[in-house]
Point group: C2
Chain length 270, copies 2
């Protein structure tokens, strides 16, 4: 392994790093992803530009296969939601979703014209060690680790939680396959948010501190957002390895090891 | 009027020129548009990047209203086609259409987040003096001016031809309005291609040189591509000023004045 480091927001960087590495395959995960801010930030637009620049540089040096991280936020999110296949309607409601979806559309058309392969992994709801401390699992875990109550919603909405190691392995499998186009990256399992929260409580032996329904649900939030993982399973040949209980246990253990104030303390305030 | 000149493909240019001009309004027409090549060229991707960069720079300096040139190629083109309203399905079949549509999608989401106005003029089939010599009107006019036969298709397909002065005036009206979102820029009139060709023959007094049906039609080309101009007419308040016969006569006169070999002779070979 040889590491090449570059800031892809620098207009010349992609060309330089791609020329140095002359890769046959590209796995592009970089994007603006600051928790709570990424949905609406103009930074998304800079990453559209940066991603297209990178793909052009990759194509210019004869790259053969590119795999890029997309998002389930490219789909239309109705109040009901559902189990979403890759052919579900694309109607992103956020700048983040619009930016990813637009990038995919241009990338696919460019790949078709130039003749390189392009796969687009639509990520559902990742979790795992090291994530932003204000996200679901860390925020509950950190409260309970500190002996504090955790106020949460009723948690009835169903989501597709995918453990970070599975997410990474799914992308590696996608790179190693010859599958093109959009591929959902999820577990395929519909899990109620309250189940995840309960598993955190169990793992830490403090289910008594959890206050379901103490926070109001977000109006208009889809009842169900779950991946149809048929393509990932049958075409890419990937099956998840880390079940939910195990993934939550590992995540909680990470916060136990790193302390409830781990990572950026300022971020925890947001 | 003060002119500022910049190459928008230069990553720093937009920021510099927008900072100099500090515009309240932006009318952005620039794109790669070389006849015959623009449908499939990777240059389209560079113009996605350049356009988004320009819009970011415009927003950063407090710009209030941006109007950008889109295209009827953003719409799905079925074999039948039809009279297309702005809510017609968006399913571009070309890299050009995908690039424009993606740019619109990101631009609209950015405008909504930042709070500037964005209108997007979807141009139908422009014609007029000075266009590429291999396009429909010039290619027929140049043949007839040289005393040569003009081989054309049967020309039964219906299109929405918009004279260049009307196109420009429609964009000016759109800038001066407060209409946001997509607005079709066309004549609203369904005209058979053979009618345009016949008008060129009449204008030059040589209808005898036109050979309808000597060229095969393009397979899968939509039968009808016509703009529903309801928004342009009723919301923007624009009506076209130059009827087809007059527009063709002016175009033909331009080629008479500039000679059949006018403009780039190399382009005429393509």
């Amino acid at each position: 392994v040889r590491w090449h480091t570059a800031d892809l927001l620098d207009p010349a960087a992609a060309q330089t790093v791609v020329a140095e590495a002359a890769p046959e395959c590209l796995l592009h995960l970089a994007w603006y992803a600051e928790h709570g801010l990424f949905w609406t930030s103009p930074e998304n637009v800079r990453w559209v530009e940066a991603t297209l620049r990178l793909l052009r540089a990759f194509a210019d040096t004869g790259g053969l296969r590119a795999v890029v991280a997309g998002t389930c936020a490219e789909y239309e999110w109705t109040p009901e939601g559902g189990v979403l296949g890759e052919d579900a309607p694309l109607r992103p409601a956020t700048l983040y979703g619009a930016a990813k979806n637009a990038t995919r559309s241009v990338a696919q058309a460019l790949a078709a014209e130039i003749g390189f392969e392009l796969a687009w992994g639509r990520i559902f709801f990742p979790y795992g060690p090291g994530e932003a401390p204000t996200r679901l699992v860390p925020s509950v875990a950190r409260a309970l680790l500190g002996g504090n109550e955790a106020a949460v919603t009723d948690g009835r909405q169903l989501r597709d939680f995918v453990y970070v190691d599975d997410l990474a392995a799914a992308f590696v499998a996608l790179v190693d396959s010859d599958v093109c186009g959009a591929v959902n990256i999820g577990s395929g399992e519909a899990v109620a948010v309250h189940e995840v929260v309960s598993l955190v409580g169990e793992a830490l032996g403090r289910p008594d501190l959890i206050r379901f329904g103490a926070l109001p649900g977000r109006p208009g939030e889809p009842a169900t957002l779950v991946a149809d993982v048929g393509r990932l399973r049958d075409e890419v040949g990937f099956r998840r390895r880390v079940p939910l209980r195990e993934g939550v246990a590992r995540s909680v253990a990470w916060w136990q090891a790193h302390g409830s104030g781990a990572l950026d303390p300022a971020a925890a305030q947001r």
